[in-house]
Amino acid sequence: MHRIAKLACAAVAVTLAASACSSSKTTTSGSSTNWSTVTSATAGGGMDALVAAAKAEGTLNVITLPRTWANYGKIMDDFTAKYGIKINDANPNGSSGDEINAIEHDKGLSSAPDVVDVGNSHALPNTNLFADYEVSSWSDIPTALKDANGSWYGDYGGYISIACDASKVAPAPCPKTFADLINPSYVADYKGKVAMSGDPTSANAAFSAVWAAALSQSGGSLDNIAPGISYFAKLKANGEYNATVDTESTIESGSTPLTVDWEFNNSQFASDLKAKGIDLTVSIPTDGLYSAYYDQAVSKYAPHPAAARLWEEYLYSTTGQNDFMGGYARPVEFAAMQSAGTLDATDEKNLPSVSGTVNYPTATQLTTAQNAITSGWASALG
């Protein structure tokens, strides 16, 4: 047995040495400009130089972009058609956590991600992995939705909304607010029908739904998510909460006719289900107005630094921003585009109406809320 153990140890040692030796190679671009450190198109010699350098690289590595999410399928196809740059989309159904892991662990590989699209919770603590870059339309991005140094910048987002299939909750009306959902006279009709997009300790939309519910309750704020957990515990006690994950199929089958989810998810469900004769209305609750934006960032270790920067320029052009809206998401440059008159009128009309203004959580508030939900969710609803 000792000999086996020794052999096994030797094998482990050899593999370790091998993995330790695989050095991190850094790619240097052929031209005089080192795009890895360029912080704006102007600083790198202008848009034409950026386009030329990106075309020379010929490839862009993106990660966890589902083609059906926020219109990314169209955006990627159009980008490739316009610049002739091939896009590799790794792990399309992955999560923000996967994106950060990929940057950390694929350092030096030609397949490492060039750009990421992460939830704000994953952008804030990882600025050391991102390269600072400011797109040409930098001033059109609201200050609250970008890093002052250009490490990350919001791209598109939305509000937490309540979708409702009126025919499945009748005679009760469709709930418009969180208060409606727990209105005693409707509880019987909403029984077992209220769902979210999964586990709030892991799904950002569900986490945000709980936070939105917290804002609708007394004591709930960006500093305190606990009332949101109690709110869902109450839904559960009422028998209204349905812990199954909302999908198009669960709505279609009538299992989850009420879903608390991002407006762009709910609107996408509504648009897809319309063809199947299901009429889903999407409303943004005024008593729990919560909004969040996903963030773009260029990896510090991007193997295609110019293509990465050109991709950002494309996403923040009016075309890219309007394309996000075509996927029912709210582009981050919405206000600036509205005053400039460059918003796509049809896509704008498809967004549910909102009244009121929102604030965005800080890094500290996010961490506090994450800890509260991790320790509190299962014990409150188990």
């Binding site: 096994a8 709030p200 892991s202 986490f207 999908t247």
Partner: protein, 287 residues
């Protein structure tokens, strides 16, 4: 070359396997230990060795998760092992060759049918409302699919086929002649199972049970789609930490590694009970 081969002998032959095990099993365990015992400072980003991850993983919600996982997998694997064994016996006794083949193939497919598709099948059938749910709730009023009990009903759906798959060959090996011989010698049915059939089957049955336990313990996609984390399971917690969209703080990955280490400890404990039992039952076979 030949001399070297002779020198190494049997050990040389086993070397590729050992190498494979070291890379596929040893390295990940080592990585878990290494990462599980470190934690970066949130401010300076400097990593230091600490027991913080491990102690945290044994307290609060993480302890609850581990215990719930254990409870769920033990319960469902016992249920599935019993049902599966009887089902496999019934199938082994049947005469149709094609029937048996069909069952084996179906079991192979069903044992791997899990995750969101399975969850959705159950949601659509006994989720909310519907005739089937009302039948079940007549017998079991508190039953709901999105609870611990709901999971205990869903898991055997893929565990029973697994049990059938692993025990059917052993049951096929039980010859009718042995039973006849036992009867000729005046043995009752009980005595046959107590002294002949049971001991012969035990290794396979135990092996099937352990496989079921492992499969139940490792499953999480089904549970996640059904319960949204309201039933805390250690596997769901690991996935939330390592590849979630919510938890993101520095050093959280190290906590995930510590949780994964706990599951390895559980599996090791399971094997520590299973291996001596198996050895013992194998001895019966030899004597």
């Amino acid at each position: 070359m030949i001399r070297l081969g002779k020198k190494l002998g049997a050990w040389g032959a086993v070397l590729p396997l050992l190498g494979y095990c070291a890379i596929a099993l040893g390295l990940p365990v080592w990585a878990l230990l290494w990462e599980g015992l470190q934690r970066p400072d949130p401010v300076t980003q400097k990593t230091t060795f600490t027991l913080w991850n491990l102690t945290t993983s044994w307290h609060g919600i993480y302890l609850t998760g581990l215990l719930t996982s254990l409870r769920l997998s033990l319960l469902t694997s016992v249920i599935s092992a019993v049902i599966g064994l009887f089902a496999a016996y019934a199938i082994a006794q049947s005469r149709g060759r094609y029937f048996k083949q069909a069952i084996l193939t179906a079991s192979g497919v069903l044992a791997n049918f899990g995750g969101i598709p399975l969850a959705f099948c159950f949601i659509a059938t006994i989720g909310t409302g519907g005739v089937f749910l009302s039948w079940i709730q007549n017998l079991w009023p508190s039953f709901q699919i999105d609870t611990f009990n709901g999971l205990a009903v869903v898991y055997p759906y893929f565990l029973v086929p697994l049990m059938v798959l692993t025990t059917l060959p052993a049951l096929d090996g039980l010859r009718t002649q042995w039973k006849e011989a036992s009867t000729n010698l005046g043995g009752s049915s009980w005595q046959y199972w107590r002294h002949i059939g049971g001991p012969l089957l035990l290794p396979a049955a135990l092996g099937g049970f352990v496989l079921c336990f492992g499969s139940a313990f490792a499953a999480y996609a089904t549970a996640r789609a059904l319960t949204s984390g309201t039933v805390p399971l250690v596997t769901m917690q690991i996935s939330s930490i390592l590849s979630g969209n919510v938890i993101a703080g520095a050093g959280e990955n190290n906590l995930g590694m510590a949780l994964a280490l706990n599951t390895i400890i559980i599996c090791a404990l399971m094997m520590a009970v299973y291996l001596p039992l198996r050895k013992r039952s194998a001895k019966w076979l030899e004597s």
